[in-house]
Structures are given as structure tokens and as C-alpha cells.
């Protein structure tokens, strides 16, 4: 047993974990849906540019859309099949974006195309970063930010520690847990590439204490030549956030408005690391990902390896339901997004699908006035005053929120809303306020020009 470290970040919450339903279930391959729908926006940054045409036959692993610029990634075909049509498809945000409809060959063996392999020992830093972009890799923890951009250490900065994020602090989700148990070799291979790409001297894998088995398994299989330490930290939400993890493990604070590299750290999600270790030696692109499908309404709960682009409706039909579903979330229950339309697809950033029936969803949350109980102040991991911010938001006092109460530091973890006894939708207020402030700032900038 690895010792659980005692150092942690300030505040935070302990929601019920609900991980036992799926954390013992091995990753299973999901079947191919009769139609695969791939939106070109699956990452933060410029949409991928489609390079195939309707009616074209494509192979599994073939490039369908290329990266459009630096902050962008390409898109690969998750199946061998035919491009049925190219037209707008719905996404979880409600926005329609260009997308590709693929019809898999029913009886095909679905072999994957090999690309140009990249050798971790001989490749240069730039070659590895380029290969990571070419593989279409984004943060698989949910953020979907292009990984090669995140790994690029600016010339005036230095990366000392590569921090591998195996925290998975969202309740219900167990994908990273299973990946650590089942894909240790891929993770270590990925770390070889990441060490080279960042120039880091040492590696720390951060794991929460509810995944001791994964930590023990990884410790046993660390290759002798890699400078890896495994740190088990106490369970607390939102420890999976980069800033909180850095504080828990290294006792450093990322400056307000800054990035982990400002304290000489680069953080990479553990599933993303495994994906890099699996894809780069074959020069392949990302075609599938592990998704936890769970929630009280799901019959066959589990961790599934699902082809990117599989329609959500097909996924739910395949796993079956115990009861009529009332709400479906993509991601965890704390930061995940409620789905309004089952015709959206599994995308690169989908870490979980949760389905709740009518019984489990309480929709009669009566909103009371703020009684200044201070529960939110005790929960906020970055020591904001959500109570005060919430009152200011109702009066549109954005300047005061930003200048005196550090609104822009909020990363929307939802801890304040979770604990609020008055059920005030605090984090929603902050989301709206932040986007209004950003819009206003952009407006003033264009006006200035």
C-alpha cells in the first residue's frame, strides 16, 4: 500500500462517489453503430477542415479533416466505410457545426491503417509535438484542449515536473481508474514521449486514495529508467483541476491568470498519456476512447471503449435502461453538461455518460434568499466569496465582481452551488457573468482599434 499524503488544497467538497458501480468493470469494446456522425468541432480551437467528399470510401484511421492552424487538431476515421453525407450536425452546446456521416462496412474486419511511427528515443521535441497534433490528441479528461499546444513550453519558461493527472475527482466516473489498471504500459510509453516533449526532469502521477489498487499496480510496473513517483492524495473534489492538483502534490500555486508552466509544471491527463503512448509508435490517429456509462437509469453500466462519433441514442439503446430517463449528462455530475438532444455523438472529450430517471432527479429545488451561511466560502477551492459574488451578479455589478472579488479566477467547479442550502445557482451566475465580461472586454478592444 502506498502512503496517502496529507497535504492537500484548501477547502473543497466530498460529494458521494458512486464509483463502485463501475470501477470493478474492465473496459469493454463497444460495437460499431450503423451510422457514425463526426462533428468537426471536438476540441477547443479552430474547427478541423474536411478533406474528403461525399460518397468516398475511407479506411479506419484515415485522415478525414486536417488541423486548421496551430490551435486545432485533425480528425481520423473511426471506421472503415463510406462517407454518406457532409452536413451540419448537432452538438451538445446546441450549436450546429459541419459534420461527416459515415456508414461502416458491416462485415469488415476493421483493421487500422498504420502511419509513420515515431520513436520516442530518436525523435526530436518538435517531431513529437507535431506527431501528437497529427494524431488528433486533445485532453481526454473533458477539456478537449489540443495537447500539443499545452505541451509546448515557451522559450522563456522551463518545465521541471511532468504531472500526470490520475485524480478523476468527478463522482461516478471510472475511466481513468480502469485505464491505469489496464493500460500501464501505454501510460509509461506516453510518459517517454511527454518527457522528451516538455524537457521535464521528473514525473509525478497523482492518484486519489479511492484508486489505491491502480496506484499499487502502477508502482509495480514502473520501468527502471523512468524518473516516476506516484503520489496518492486524499479524496476531495475538485482535486482533478490542474491548479488544485499542483497545490496538493507540489505545494505550489499557479498565479492568478497564469498557467501551470508558470510554476514549472505541465499537467497531462492519464488517459491522454496512454493514448499518446498507444498511437505514436504506430503513427495512428485517435479513433476511440474509454467512456464510463453509468447512472441509476442505466442497465448495463460499465467502462466502454467507444468509437468517436457513435450517436448517443445508439449508445443508450445498446446499454439499455431500467426506467424512462429524465436527464442525461455528458461528463461528470459536477461539471458535465446536460444533453438536450440524443442525436449528438460521443466526441473526444466525452469521459462519461450519466442517465438519471425521474425518481432520482429532484426538480423542485426551491430557491431561497442567501442567508450568508458561508458554506460556499468554506467550499470554494480558490477562496472566493461566492455568496457576495452571487448577490453582485443579480445586480449586474460586473466591475465589482471582477476587480474586488476575483470573478475571473473562478473555474466553475460547482462546489458553491453543490453546498448552497438556498439552492442558488451560483456557478451558473458566474458562468454568465464571465462570458458577459469577456464579451464586453472584446467589444472595448475592437472599439479601441
Amino acid at each position: 500500500m502506498l502512503k496517502i499524503s496529507t497535504h492537500t488544497f484548501k477547502h473543497g467538497i466530498h460529494p458521494p462517489e458512486h464509483k463502485n458501480d463501475t470501477n470493478g468493470l474492465p473496459i469493454r469494446q463497444f460495437p460499431f453503430a450503423p451510422v457514425i456522425i463526426l462533428p468537426v468541432v471536438q476540441h477547443i480551437g479552430a474547427p478541423s477542415k474536411i478533406i474528403i467528399r461525399e460518397g468516398q470510401e475511407v479506411e479506419r484511421g484515415q485522415l478525414l479533416a486536417k488541423a486548421d492552424g496551430y490551435v486545432s487538431v485533425p480528425l481520423h476515421s473511426p471506421v472503415s466505410g463510406t462517407v454518406r453525407k457532409i452536413q451540419n450536425v448537432p452538438t451538445i452546446s446546441g450549436k450546429m457545426v459541419p459534420g461527416i456521416y459515415l456508414e461502416p462496412y458491416p462485415a469488415s474486419g476493421q483493421e487500422v491503417m498504420e502511419g509513420v511511427p515515431i520513436d520516442a528515443d530518436t525523435a526530436t521535441k518538435e517531431e513529437i509535438l507535431q506527431a501528437i497534433q497529427n494524431a488528433g490528441i486533445v485532453g481526454l479528461g473533458g477539456a478537449a484542449f489540443p495537447t500539443h499546444v499545452k505541451l509546448k513550453v515557451p522559450d522563456d519558461k522551463r518545465c521541471e515536473v511532468l504531472l500526470i493527472n490520475g485524480i478523476e475527482c468527478e463522482p461516478y466516473l471510472t475511466t481513468d481508474h480502469r485505464v491505469m489498471l489496464e493500460q500501464a504500459d501505454d501510460i509509461f510509453m506516453g510518459i517517454r514521449y511527454l518527457l522528451k516533449a516538455t524537457g521535464a526532469k521528473r514525473v509525478i502521477i497523482g492518484i486519489e486514495a479511492n484508486k489505491q489498487d491502480a496506484a499499487n499496480h502502477l508502482v509495480k510496473s514502473i520501468p527502471g529508467d523512468l524518473p516516476i513517483a506516484i503520489r496518492v492524495v486524499p479524496v476531495k473534489y475538485p482535486q482533478g483541476s490542474e491548479k488544485m492538483l499542483i497545490t496538493s502534490v507540489l505545494d505550489r500555486e499557479v498565479p492568478s491568470g497564469g498557467l501551470p508552466i508558470d510554476v514549472n509544471v505541465v499537467v497531462v491527463n492519464v488517459a491522454t498519456t496512454a493514448e499518446i503512448g498507444r498511437l505514436l509508435p504506430h503513427g495512428r490517429g485517435i479513433q476511440e476512447r474509454v467512456v464510463t456509462i453509468t447512472g441509476p437509469a442505466i442497465k448495463k453500466k460499465g467502462n466502454y471503449l467507444i468509437p468517436i462519433g457513435t450517436p448517443l441514442r445508439y449508445v443508450l439503446q445498446h446499454v439499455g435502461m431500467n426506467e424512462p430517463i429524465s436527464e442525461v449528462y455528458m461528463g461528470g455530475p459536477m461539471m458535465g453538461v446536460a444533453v438536450s438532444n440524443l442525436d449528438i455523438s460521443i466526441v473526444k472529450g466525452t469521459s462519461g455518460i450519466l442517465a438519471f430517471g425521474n425518481k432520482e432527479v429532484i426538480r423542485t429545488h426551491k430557491i431561497y434568499p442567501c442567508i450568508k451561511c458561508g458554506a460556499c466560502v468554506e467550499a470554494c477551492p480558490i477562496s472566493l466569496n461566492p455568496s457576495r459574488l452571487g448577490i453582485l451578479a443579480r445586480f449586474d455589478a460586473f466591475d465589482e465582481m471582477v476587480n474586488q472579488y476575483n470573478l475571473m479566477d473562478c473555474f466553475e467547479c460547482g462546489s458553491c452551488s453543490y453546498v448552497c442550502p438556498s439552492n442558488i445557482p451560483l456557478v451558473q451566475y458566474f458562468r454568465l457573468s464571465k462570458s458577459l465580461v469577456r464579451k464586453r472586454n472584446a467589444q472595448t478592444q475592437t472599439d479601441a482599434k
Binding site: M321, V328, A338, Y368, I371, V377, S383, Q404, N406, S422
Partner: protein, 339 residues
């Protein structure tokens, strides 16, 4: 099972489950033994005063909500708390019409004028009591004997005084321990104070019952323990120093702690979340401030008791404390936070 429309909501999709009305209900639960003990100690008069205060507060809240065209907020239980607290600060032989008036003032002026629950600056019950004290200085300092033999068979005529008439003071009025000490230099034993064997307001009798109620709320995480601890601690420390200087002139710290409305005020009125600062550090400043003011008023002021004014002053100070005491935000340097 997939054809039905989906509901959407914003994250987080799970909640801790505590609600404001549950917190308020638990405060009522914690106050009920105190009220029950008050009735046991003072008899029918206390029962009528407490019932009238609660009815008056709840009715005022309901009527004002309806008049302003809003949904009635009596279901959040906060008006019941205000009523109970107001009743507990009044003498057990206080005229009912004055009690009723106090309830109206507490809710209308103490709470509604500021915008309702959560927006009030002062503890509404204390606003009600402060107005009553200014309007009826004699009636509010006329006490009855505790554990009198006929407390359940007879009722003081002052309780049933007709509206707008002055109450007739019965001959049985007893002095409170604090006024006895202040004006006659007579001290009362701590055990009498702890078990409520002394005269006083309905709620300032048994310190033990109050502490049990307070501990219940603290254990259930519905009260910030720092508030009662910092108030009681600072009262004890300051009066202890004075007692060491001159134990003839100044009362013992134990007497200070257990007499008057300090226990009730520290556990149930100063700890009102709305009127107290929001940060842990701010709350301690607030508590110490209240404790110091209590000692200053009791020892050097003209009044025997000062808990009410101390808490009202603390309430007035807490928005300023919140403005000044801000925890350092993650990733900012100390100099950036406006201390």
C-alpha cells in the same frame, strides 16, 4: 424509453441536500427545549408571551408578503425563529399586546424593511425588543419570581393588560441577578444560574438547556461554533482580568458568563447567519467585539445588561468586517488581497 423529451439543467447536477428551511427548522427544534423550560420555570405567563410573539411574527410575515404581492415566505420557518427569540427576550409577565406589537416591529422593521430574509442587517428579534425597550422601559424590566407556587394556576394581571393601557405591576416582581449585582452588589451562585433558578427574561434562565441546544446545532453543522465560543471566550477573558484586578468591585467571570441573556444571545442571536460575517476570521472578530461590548456595558454602562445592544452593534459592523477581511484568493499575492 428514449422517445420522451429530456430535461436539462445547469451543472452541478447533484446537491448536498441541506436546505435553508431544514436549517431554520432545526434552529426551531433547538429553541423548543429552551421555550419549554421557560414555561416550566415561569408558568402560564411565559407560555402566553412566547405564543403571542410567534403568532405575531408569522402573521406579520404572511400579511406583508401578501400585501406586497409575493408568495408567503412563512414556510421557510425564519419567522417562527424570530418569534421564539423575541418571546425569549421578554419578561414572562410582559403584556401580550406589547408582545404582539414587538412581533410586528421585528418582522416589519427588522426584516421586511430591508428586503426580507437574507437582506436584514440586524437580528429582527432584537430590533423588536429594542423598540419595546425604548417604548415600554418599565414593563420590560418588571420581572416575576421564578418557580412561584401558583405559576400554573394564576396569571399576572399585567400579562392581560388591555392594548394601549399601562400594566399594573404586581408585588411579586423579582430582580435579575445582573441588576441585583449592579445596584445591590449581591451575587447569585453559578449553579442557580446554570439551572435557571433566577428571575429574568423567559429565555435567560437555564444556561444548560441553551448550551445543549447550541451544541445540537453545532454538531449538525448548522451553526458556526466560532461565534458563541469567541463571544463567551472574550467575555470570560476580559471579566477574568478585571476580577483579578479587583474581586470586590468586579463580578466573577463565571457569573458574567452564566447570567443574563449572554448564553441565549451568544448561541442563538449573534450566531444568526444573516447578521454575522461570512468568513471564519471575520466571525471571530465579530464575536470578540460583541464580548467586549457586553462587558463594557455591564460593568461601566448605566444598564445592568448589554447583550442586545452588543449584538446589534456587531450586526452593524459585520458588513464592514466582510469588506475588510477577505481570504487570500488562490494564486494572488498577499498584497493583492485588500486587507
Amino acid at each position: 424509453m428514449l422517445s420522451k423529451t429530456l430535461n436539462i439543467s445547469t451543472s452541478p447536477h447533484i446537491r448536498s441536500g441541506t436546505s435553508t428551511s431544514v436549517i431554520m427548522k432545526n434552529v426551531v427544534f433547538a429553541l423548543i427545549p429552551i421555550a419549554a423550560y421557560a414555561v416550566y420555570a415561569f408558568g402560564l405567563g411565559a407560555l402566553f408571551v412566547l405564543a403571542t410573539a410567534v403568532i405575531s411574527c408569522v402573521a406579520t410575515e404572511h400579511v406583508l408578503c401578501k400585501l406586497s404581492g409575493k408568495e408567503s415566505t412563512i414556510s421557510d420557518w425564519s419567522a417562527v425563529i424570530t418569534g421564539l427569540l423575541l418571546g425569549l427576550t421578554l419578561p414572562p409577565i410582559f403584556p401580550l399586546w406589547m408582545t404582539f406589537l414587538g412581533g410586528i416591529v421585528a418582522i416589519a422593521l427588522g426584516k421586511f424593511a430591508f428586503g426580507g430574509l437574507g437582506y436584514n442587517v440586524f437580528n429582527p428579534a432584537l430590533v423588536g425588543r429594542a423598540v419595546l425597550q425604548a417604548a415600554f422601559p418599565v414593563a420590560i424590566t418588571t420581572w416575576s419570581e421564578v418557580f412561584s407556587d401558583h405559576r400554573f394556576s394564576a396569571i399576572s394581571s399585567s400579562v392581560l393588560t388591555l392594548p394601549f393601557y399601562e400594566p399594573v405591576v404586581d408585588g411579586n416582581s423579582g430582580a435579575t441577578p445582573l441588576s441585583a449585582f449592579k445596584f445591590d452588589q449581591v451575587s447569585v451562585s453559578i449553579s442557580d444560574l446554570a439551572f435557571g433558578l433566577t428571575s429574568g427574561s423567559t429565555g435567560e434562565t437555564s444556561a444548560i438547556v441553551i448550551i445543549i441546544g447550541g451544541i445540537y446545532l453545532i454538531v449538525r453543522k448548522m451553526m458556526n461554533w466560532r461565534i458563541p465560543i469567541s463571544i463567551l471566550g472574550s467575555v470570560y477573558a476580559l471579566s477574568g482580568i478585571l476580577y483579578l484586578i479587583d474581586n470586590q468591585l468586579y463580578p466573577s467571570p463565571n457569573f458574567m458568563l452564566f447570567s443574563g441573556g449572554l448564553m441565549l444571545g451568544a448561541f442563538f442571536m449573534a450566531s444568526d447567519m444573516v447578521g454575522s460575517p461570512i468568513t471564519s476570521c471575520g466571525v471571530i472578530i465579530y464575536g470578540v467585539f460583541i464580548g467586549v461590548v457586553v462587558v463594557v456595558i455591564r460593568i461601566w454602562g448605566g444598564l445592568p445588561e448589554g447583550v442586545m445592544y452588543a449584538i446589534l452593534l456587531g450586526n452593524a459592523l459585520s458588513p464592514q468586517i466582510d469588506k475588510l477581511i477577505k481570504p487570500r484568493v488562490y494564486g494572488t499575492s498577499k498584497s493583492n488581497s485588500k486587507l
